[in-house]
């Protein structure tokens, strides 16, 4: 494993060189084994074997103590702390993202309805003459007579009467109130977002 470190990067001091200790049963007590022992990577049988072997190896015991100290210093490393307002910034970014997602969705939804209504009216205007023709045919009117078919007179509309009706005043007032409130709501939402940011 030590071969993985280029030679020129190898530690030069005596202490840092990998050590191997010979156990009574002639198995090796390497640094790697001691680290695995300290890190809890050995299975129960191996762990027991090393524990027993360590009893007669004061040098290995001292090396194990060094390893445990090293391990302790890794664990005692302080956590990296982000800026104090980090969490607030994340929450503002999240709120803005959600708001954008919503505002991106709603006009599209509105547009969808508009498209449907317009398409519907257009479709009806195309279908209606066809339906009228079919109805005329089913009533026994010969197609050749269609040319003589006279359209009914368009009824005259009393615009002054309609516009002067109280219901129209009321509806226009209601619509104006609705759009004013909607505008105010948009303004307040925008203001709140800017304040949060």
């Amino acid at each position: 494993m030590n071969d993985e470190i280029p030679k020129d990067q190898h530690p030069k001091t005596k202490d840092s060189l990998p050590k191997t200790f010979i156990m009574k049963n002639n198995s090796l007590f390497s640094d790697d084994l001691l680290w695995d022992y300290a890190d809890g990577f050995l299975d129960a049988a191996e762990h027991q074997r090393v524990t027993e072997g360590l009893r007669d190896q004061p040098e290995a015991q001292s090396r194990l103590a060094d390893i445990l100290a090293e391990k302790k210093s890794f664990a005692a490393l302080p956590l990296e702390i982000p800026k104090p307002d980090f969490a607030d910034r994340v929450m503002v970014a999240w709120a803005m993202e959600q708001m954008h997602a919503q505002s991106a969705l709603s006009p599209e939804k509105g547009r969808d309805w508009m498209v449907l209504i317009i398409s519907g009216v257009f479709g009806l205007s195309l279908l209606l003459p066809l339906v009228m023709l079919l109805v005329a045919l089913s009533n026994g009117v010969a197609p050749t007579l269609l040319a003589d078919y006279t359209l009914p007179n368009v009824p005259s509309v009393d615009w002054a009467g309609i516009l002067g009706h109280p219901a129209v005043y009321y509806s226009v007032g209601l619509a104006l109130t609705f759009f004013s409130l909607r505008l105010l709501d948009k303004y307040l939402q925008q203001k709140k977002t800017l304040q949060l940011a």
Binding site: W35, F41, D66, F74, L77, L79, I81, A87, W94
Partner: protein, 188 residues
């Protein structure tokens, strides 16, 4: 005293749209995410940006978290991919964060403010500087195992490694850290 809510409970509340649950998740994991992001990108400003992106991505995909693994395991994967994306913007040729060809940046050849003057008792500062000079993968595996005390099993899940590979990687990372510390005239 208020009971500490479990991750699962906070996640459920967040999915249900409760903003305070999101805020609590950020508070709970900001150091975890920031530390890992810093291990990858090696720069505090960039780490803030990456950590924020990680939380936003995590929130976006929170409904996909099934709780099969620990929340931190899931979060680590987000930190990893976000950091990799960030680093690719800077280095488009970057493929992996495990730079085996050049695993450590020894302070005497690349770092102008090498910590030659570190005091013996400044153990944490030395260790942090040493870790900062390791490759992202080495720095991360040491952080996950020794600092956050993730088990080797969890690390295998997080980093998509086999048990043997994870052990080998950890061992190499430790050796490289030691090499770096020695080159900084510091020994644990």
């Amino acid at each position: 005293m208020a009971a500490i809510l479990s991750d699962e409970s906070l996640i459920q509340q967040a999915i249900a749209g409760r903003q305070s649950a999101y805020a609590m998740l950020v508070k709970r994991y900001e150091q975890y995410v920031f530390t890992l992001a810093l291990r990858f990108v090696k720069n505090r400003e960039d780490a803030h940006e990456v950590a924020q992106d990680c939380f936003l991505r995590a929130f976006r995909y929170l409904p996909d978290f099934r709780g099969e693994a620990k929340f931190t395991t899931w979060l680590y994967k987000i930190v990893y991919s976000t950091s990799l994306n960030h680093l690719r913007k800077v280095r488009p040729d970057l493929v992996t964060l495990d730079d085996d060809s050049r695993p450590v940046r020894l302070p005497n050849d690349t770092t102008p403010n090498a910590a030659h003057t570190l005091e013996r008792d400044d153990r944490n500062a030395a260790l942090q500087q040493g870790i900062a000079l390791l490759s992202p993968d080495d720095a991360t595996i040491i952080t996950l195992f020794y600092l956050y005390e993730h088990s080797l099993d969890e690390i295998c899940q997080m980093m998509d490694l086999t048990m043997t590979n994870a052990k080998t990687k950890l061992c190499r990372a430790r050796q490289r850290l030691k090499t770096v510390l020695i080159s900084m005239n510091y020994e644990l």
